[in-house]
Every structure is written in structure tokens, then in C-alpha cells.
């Protein structure tokens, strides 16, 4: 058995509203949306028009650069609306779902009988290829590339994240099939990381055909990027792929049943969620179907597809993202707090630093809101960031290189190793309230443009 990799640095954010382990309802969506914006740097080519009928698994749009990468509809129905933004940027393709779901049949096959090319073709055709993310940069994997290895994190440490043992309780066989399929796409094997806290308890430790790793530590120990940097750091020229556990299950389902099945258990969480628990839903489902969870009585609620650190503010009329298995509801913090920064006690606020007194109550959870608690400033305290980043990089140097647009320095300071989610905690603790993920995002965009 491999050794436990101990990560000392990190922070678990004590936000209130974790989901109880029960499936409260089944959402049968009326309209779902497929969103090109879920994928970094994607230039979509639309393949449908309003009024077209589609099956679950029918292509909706393709990647303009690699047209073999198809993005497919999670439901059968009629294309009801194509939503465009500024400069006619394609934002959403809305599909009105049929009462009776019909699936495109890709054919159930035994993975053992297929070679890598056939698996690749099946994933591309079914619309599951975009589930594979390529590092560096966190983009949809290039089908022409051969990755050094494929990495899967079998646990999440993100705030209020869905519990994989519960959300994927019936998916063990599918995950195993998915792993067997992915293993044929690389020579470096499939690396799966487990949490030390439940390694022997989780059913997933029985998975075969994997290289297991065990991590112990606070968030972001569950982030696959952090795990990669401890298993086999990405250097210039390397390509690795990552897949989430839920997407591995979907890949397995494709080969076991022949269907593109994006249904999943979604955790509805957050301080503004009434009775936070799970719902059976589907990728692209509308937030409108979750209104009974919204605690809206005192002001605005922000609806986030994903977690509070990296999720997207989709609004009450928005739709669940392609990768997300979590919805977080938090309050918009528009209230002013008189002399807040000078008050010795602010018992309702959490701070990772000892400048406040939240360290006195380590088990307390907080009803956090979206207030920035201060104004943007220049970098001043340089030591706070590395305390929450268990990676061998210098975050401030990397970010300053991104701000300066200095390609050589970005490369030197590790731009290949990180994507936004890995530095999200740095942004949370930053006393200067700097938009760290945004800066990194711009840096990655610049790298992709310059290195292409």
C-alpha cells in the first residue's frame, strides 16, 4: 500500500448548510441548458437550430478547433432557445425536455474488447469527451495528445461538497468500467487519490486497475491539481488528464448501457438553503426547480452552481453546470457594518487569521455571505497565501508574473501546475481582497494564446 501523503497547509472553510445524506426529490426538468461557457477557452460551432428535435446524446455544438469533439444534449426534446451575449457569444442552448426521455443508442460494449482509439471515438461521439480535462490550463483534452497519466480524485474537500460515497453509492460498477476505459488512453495508468480519513471505509478503495494514493489534510487536499503536484509535478511539455469521479461514472455508464446519461445526485447546500439535502437531477437542470430550498425571506440570495470558492453565480433563472454536482445558496452581503474592521469581536464573521476570535470556536459554522469585508488593495501580507496552498510554488510571484504578462516568469513560477481552483483559498484569505482567480485566469489565457 502506498504511503499517506500528508499536507500540512490548507483550510477547511466552516460555512453552514452541509447537505444531509438523503435524496429529497427527483427533479424532472422542463427546460435544460447546455452551456459552452462551462469549458475554458472553447470556441463553439453550433450544430442545431431553434425548433430542432434532439435525443439525449444528440450533438448540440462542436469545438471549432477540433470538430470531432461533440457536446451533446443531456435530455431528449426540442431546442427552444439559443441565448447569445455580447458580440453574439454563444451562452446557452436551451432544450425543452420531452415527457418521455429517449436516448441515442451508442451500444453497450465490453471495454476489454476495445482498444484506445475505439474508446476515444466512442467518447467523442457520445459527448463525454469534454469530461476529460487536460492540464496544463484546465481545458477540454486534445484528442490528439497522449497524456503522461490520468488522475482522479475520489474525495472532495471543497466547502460543503457533495459526499461521493453517498452521491455515487450505486455507481461502483460504472466507475470501474470508466476507469478500465480511461486506462486504455494512457501509458501512465489511472491514479486515484483517496482521503486518509475514510480510506478503509469507502467502497471505492476496492477499485482495480488503478494506482492508489492517499492524502491527509485540509482543503485543497482533495483538489486533483494539488494531488498531481505531489504525485508527479507537471513540467513544461507534460500533458496529463484529469476526470472527476462522477464523470468517470458517466463514462462507465456509456459503455455499460450505451447511453449518454448525465443524471446525478446534486447536493443543495449553503446557509440560505432550507433543509439542505440531495436531489436527483441532471446536468443543465434549471435552478427554478429548486425553489423550495430557497430561504429568501431576508433579502437577496445568490445561487451558485458549484461551491462557494470556485462556482458560478448563475442566478435563480440559471442552470446547473456540466461538471457541477452541487448548488450553494448564500446571502448577498450588501449590508454595511459600522466600524466593522475596528470591532474587537465579530462573532458572526469567520477569519482564518487570529486577528479575530473565530479560532476560539473551531467547530462553529458560519452563515457566510458575499460581502468582500474590505476593499481591494495592493499585495501587502505575503505570508498568508502559502499557509493555505500545499504546493511547491510561490503564489505571489506567479500572480505578479501573470499581472505583468511575463510568459517566461509565469512558466518559471509554475503556471502549468495550477488552475483557478487550486488558488481559490488564497483568494479567500487575501486581506488585500485581490481577485486572484481572475488574475490567474487571464494569465492562463495569455499562455494559451502565446504558446499556441
Amino acid at each position: 500500500m502506498s504511503n499517506i501523503i500528508e499536507l500540512k497547509r490548507g483550510l477547511n472553510i466552516p460555512i453552514a448548510g452541509s447537505a444531509a445524506l438523503k435524496a429529497k426529490k427527483v427533479v424532472i426538468p422542463d427546460v435544460v441548458a447546455v452551456k459552452p461557457t462551462d469549458f475554458r477557452g472553447l470556441v463553439p460551432r453550433l450544430l442545431v437550430r431553434e425548433g430542432d428535435t434532439v435525443l439525449a446524446g444528440s450533438p448540440v455544438f462542436a469545438d471549432k478547433v477540433s470538430p470531432e469533439i461533440l457536446f451533446t444534449s443531456p435530455v431528449s426534446g426540442t431546442v427552444s432557445e439559443i441565448v447569445r451575449g455580447e458580440k453574439r457569444k454563444l451562452l446557452e442552448i436551451r432544450i425543452k425536455a420531452d415527457k418521455e426521455q429517449k436516448y441515442e443508442d451508442f451500444g453497450a460494449v465490453k471495454v476489454a474488447s476495445l482498444d484506445g482509439e475505439k474508446i476515444k471515438a466512442a467518447l467523442l461521439k457520445s459527448g463525454l469527451w469534454p469530461a476529460i480535462i487536460q492540464r496544463p490550463y484546465g481545458i477540454v483534452a486534445r484528442p490528439s495528445a497522449t497524456p503522461k497519466a490520468i488522475f482522479i480524485s475520489a474525495f472532495s474537500t471543497a466547502p460543503l461538497a457533495a459526499n461521493p460515497e453517498f452521491a455515487l453509492r450505486d455507481e461502483f460498477e460504472n466507475i470501474q468500467t470508466g476507469i478500465n476505459a480511461l486506462a486504455k488512453l494512457t501509458r501512465g495508468g489511472v491514479h486515484v487519490s483517496f482521503s486518509s480519513s475514510n480510506y478503509s471505509g469507502t467502497p471505492f478503495h476496492k477499485l482495480e486497475n488503478i494506482t492508489p494514493h492517499i492524502f491527509r489534510g485540509k482543503h485543497p487536499a482533495g483538489n486533483v491539481g494539488v494531488q498531481i503536484s505531489h504525485i508527479s509535478p507537471i513540467s513544461k511539455g507534460d500533458v496529463v488528464w484529469t476526470v472527476s469521479l462522477a464523470m468517470t461514472a458517466a463514462i462507465g455508464k456509456l459503455f455499460n448501457t450505451g447511453r449518454y446519461d448525465m443524471s446525478r445526485l446534486v447536493a443543495v447546500t449553503g446557509p440560505k438553503a432550507i433543509d439542505p439535502s440531495y436531489v436527483k437531477g441532471i446536468a443543465g437542470m434549471p435552478m427554478k426547480d429548486l425553489t423550495e430550498f430557497f430561504d429568501d425571506k431576508d433579502g437577496e440570495t445568490r445561487v451558485i452552481s458549484g461551491d462557494v470558492l470556485t462556482g458560478t453565480n448563475v442566478g435563480k433563472d440559471g442552470f446547473l453546470g456540466f461538471f457541477d454536482d452541487q448548488v450553494t445558496l448564500i446571502k448577498e452581503g450588501t449590508e454595511c457594518e459600522v466600524l466593522g474592521w475596528a470591532r474587537p469581536f465579530r462573532t458572526k464573521q469567520f477569519s482564518a487569521s487570529k486577528a479575530y476570535f473565530s479560532w476560539l470556536s473551531p467547530n462553529k459554522t458560519y452563515e457566510m455571505d458575499t460581502n468582500t469585508h474590505g476593499e481591494p488593495r495592493a499585495f501587502v501580507l505575503s505570508s498568508v497565501y502559502s499557509k493555505v496552498l500545499p504546493m511547491d510554488i510561490y503564489p505571489v510571484y506567479l500572480l505578479k508574473a501573470c499581472l505583468a504578462g511575463d510568459i517566461d516568469k509565469m512558466e518559471k513560477f509554475g503556471i502549468y501546475e495550477v488552475i483557478e481552483e487550486d488558488l481559490a483559498l488564497c483568494e479567500f484569505v487575501c486581506p488585500s481582497k485581490i481577485g486572484i482567480q481572475g488574475i490567474l485566469s487571464d494569465g492562463i489565457d495569455l499562455m494559451m494564446k502565446e504558446m499556441a
Partner: protein
């Protein structure tokens, strides 16, 4: 209090873009964000943020300085009392110190904040809270009898040349408060050096023949020299001046306003280290550096060089060492940023301080120069630490 928020909201449009007083919007925002944490919400990136902001960080440093300030107020009165033989009680000393020190603060904050507001206004930036700390520090590191007009010019120099031309808090190379002191000492050496500047009221006595509070003359045998000057002649001179290690530790000796009491400084250090605002690594390595050079000097000392015989630990309580180590060297902007770099930087600050003290009898206070010099070299230290770390990483990857 809610009425205040309402009032601020009501007058806000006047100062916003298009309003009558929109040219004053930096000033308005400074007051607004000082009075209450604004209701700004996150738009990109993380949806929640830590409660800690720079205002909180700065107010903690200000709090950490309060013990030194209170002690300084008392000590100013105490030194005056001792110099003129007044037989004052505790509150008389405190009152005297208060009256002497308040003008220093008024000058420091009015001049410094004034320049901050004007430059923020000119550039359309927000006013930074960094000066809250700088303004608190400056009166504590100057002699109590410093002429106020000199202080005003020095503050203006420190804020404009030390900070604003680099782009404000977070961008500066040198610690602005120390730059202020360095400016004073190098621009007005005839007024700022010697033994007469350190005791409150002495300057006036020497020029007008009258002290502030009464017509008494100085007591017999009064020299006004700080213990640091005595220490330059060796431990015997300190003993002759009746200054023990304990006196230096408690701080009832002459010196700059806030730097004398090691006890008060340690109280501040505990707060800074506990809250993580200042780096304990810098403080500890600075102490190690000072002791290392101090002991080396002790080992090399002969009877012909009494100043080398001063026990190494005296350097920790003499002059501005403790104050500089805790409050100045640890400035997160101007010190080294990498963790290894902090050890090197701190060690060199301590070592250089004692080196200057031992080998530059003309100007004893090495702390200021050591920190300013190491501020200059901090980016270089970081550069080599980062390069070394990247080199290690590259080798590791090659092997793997």
C-alpha cells in the same frame, strides 16, 4: 449609527461620478470605508471572503504599539523630572509627556495623511490605510525634542519619496517611518545628534535658559547622553552612568520616545506574533544575528577595546534594537517575502546593527541603517531564495 450610514448613502451621489463634488471621491471613499465596512459583494472568483482586511491588520499593529506609546509618555515626563530635579508625581510626569508627544502625533498624522489624501485624489486611487501605522510609528522613533517643522518636512519626505512615488502602500522599497528618521538625522545632524535632544525640555532650556515647567536648572551631573552612547565606551561607562541591564529592560532611560522599554515592546511583539501580522522568524533571526556578532566581539575584545567587551545581550536592550526588530524589520512590504529569505534578512539586520554599533562610534544607532540597508537587499535575497528553490525542484523532476 444607522443614521450615519443613511446619511453617507444620501450624500454619496454628490461625490460619485457626475456629482458636484466628484473630484473628491477618493476622500469620500476613504471616510466611508473608515466609518463602516461597505456593502460591496464579490463579483468574480470566490463568492465568500475572509473577514480580515488591511484595515484590521493595520489596527492590530497600532494596538501593538500602544504599550510603547504609553510607556513613552510616562518616560518623557520621568526623564524631564530627573533632569531638572523636580520631584514630580506620576500624573505630573504623564501630563508632561502627554503635552510633549501630542504635537508630534498631530504633525505626523496631519502632514502624512494630508499628503496621502492629496496623492490619492490626484491619481484617482483609494486612500490606503498604511499610513495609520506609519503615522503611529514616526513619533515613537524620534527624539522628543525634535522641532516640529523638521518633523513635518521629514514626514513629507518619507511619504512622498518613500512611498507615493512608488505607488503607495505595498509598493514601497523602504520602510517610510525609518526613512523619516533617517532624513531627520542626515539633514539636521547638528540639531539631531549629540546628547541634548533626547530629554524633553532640554533643548529649550539650553537656548532660552528656561525649561517648560519651571525655572529650575538641570541637576548636577546630568549629561543627557543615552545609554547607547555610554555603551560605546564599554560596560564600565554604563555602570558609571548608573544604568543596569534591568533599567534598560524596563526602559526608564533616555532615548527616542517609544524605543526604550523592552517590556512594552515585548507586549506588542506577542500580539503581532499571535495574530500572525508580523513574522516571528524575522524577529528571532534578528536577535540571533545580534547575539552572534556580539559574542564574536566579546571573544575578540581586549582591554584596549572596551566597547567590544560589552556583553552581547546588552545589545538586545540598548537603543532602538528591540523596537526596530519587532516593528520595523518585520514590515511585510519591505522585508523579505520568502520564508527562507526572512531568516537571512532578519539575521543580517541583527548582525549589521551590532556591527555598526561596535565599529562606528561616531554614530551609534545601527538599527535604522541596518534595516534600511536590508530593505534595499530584501528583493535580492528573495531572488536567490526563489532561484535556489526552483533549481532544487528542477533537479527533483529530472531524477523522477
Amino acid at each position: 449609527m444607522n443614521g450615519l450610514v443613511k446619511f453617507m448613502h444620501k450624500i454619496k451621489p454628490t461625490f460619485s461620478e457626475g456629482g458636484k463634488l466628484s473630484f473628491l471621491h477618493s476622500t469620500f471613499e476613504a471616510f466611508e470605508s473608515f466609518l463602516y465596512v461597505p456593502g460591496t459583494v464579490t463579483s468574480k472568483g470566490t463568492h465568500i471572503k475572509d473577514a480580515l482586511d488591511l484595515k484590521r491588520v493595520m489596527i492590530i499593529v497600532v494596538l501593538a504599539l500602544v504599550p510603547s506609546l504609553l510607556f513613552g509618555i510616562w518616560n518623557t515626563g520621568y526623564q524631564h523630572n530627573a533632569a531638572f530635579g523636580l520631584n514630580w508625581g506620576f500624573w505630573q510626569m504623564v501630563w508632561y509627556g502627554f503635552v510633549k508627544i501630542i504635537p508630534l502625533y498631530l504633525v505626523s498624522y496631519i502632514v502624512g495623511l494630508g499628503i496621502e489624501f492629496i496623492s490619492a485624489q490626484i491619481r484617482g486611487h483609494q486612500v490606503n490605510e498604511g499610513y495609520l501605522v506609519t503615522g503611529m510609528l514616526i513619533p515613537l522613533i524620534v527624539p522628543v525634542d525634535v522641532p516640529l517643522w523638521m518633523l513635518a518636512i521629514a514626514v513629507a519626505f518619507a511619504v512622498i519619496i518613500g512611498k507615493e512615488i512608488f505607488g503607495g502602500t505595498g509598493m514601497n522599497i523602504w520602510n517610510p517611518a525609518l526613512l523619516c528618521r533617517a532624513f531627520l538625522f542626515f539633514s539636521y545632524p547638528s540639531k539631531m545628534s549629540g546628547d541634548t535632544i533626547w530629554t524633553g525640555g532640554l533643548t529649550r532650556y539650553l537656548s532660552d535658559g528656561t525649561a517648560y515647567a519651571c525655572g529650575n536648572g538641570v541637576v548636577d551631573g546630568f549629561s543627557g547622553a543615552t545609554p547607547l552612547v555610554h555603551a560605546g565606551q564599554g560596560i564600565q561607562a554604563l555602570d558609571a552612568a548608573n544604568v543596569s541591564f534591568l533599567d534598560l529592560f524596563i526602559g526608564n532611560v533616555g532615548g527616542a520616545v517609544g524605543e526604550t522599554s523592552v517590556i512594552a515592546i515585548l507586549l506588542g511583539a506577542i500580539l503581532l506574533i499571535w495574530t500572525g501580522v508580523a513574522s516571528w522568524k524575522i524577529m528571532l533571526s534578528s536577535v540571533i544575528g545580534a547575539l552572534a556578532v556580539g559574542f564574536l566581539a566579546n571573544a575578540l575584545a581586549t582591554d584596549a577595546t572596551p566597547y567590544l567587551q560589552l556583553p552581547a545581550w546588552y545589545h538586545l536592550v540598548l537603543g532602538g534594537f528591540a523596537f526596530g526588530t519587532v516593528f520595523m524589520a518585520t514590515d511585510p512590504v519591505t522585508s523579505a517575502q520568502t520564508e527562507t529569505g526572512k531568516w537571512i534578512y532578519g539575521f543580517l539586520v541583527g548582525a549589521l546593527t551590532v556591527t555598526v554599533r561596535l565599529f562606528n562610534p561616531g554614530y551609534m544607532e545601527g538599527m535604522m541603517l541596518a534595516i534600511l540597508l536590508m530593505n534595499t537587499f530584501a528583493p535580492l535575497i528573495d531572488h536567490y531564495v526563489v532561484e535556489a528553490s526552483l533549481g532544487r525542484k528542477a533537479r527533483k523532476v529530472k531524477i523522477a
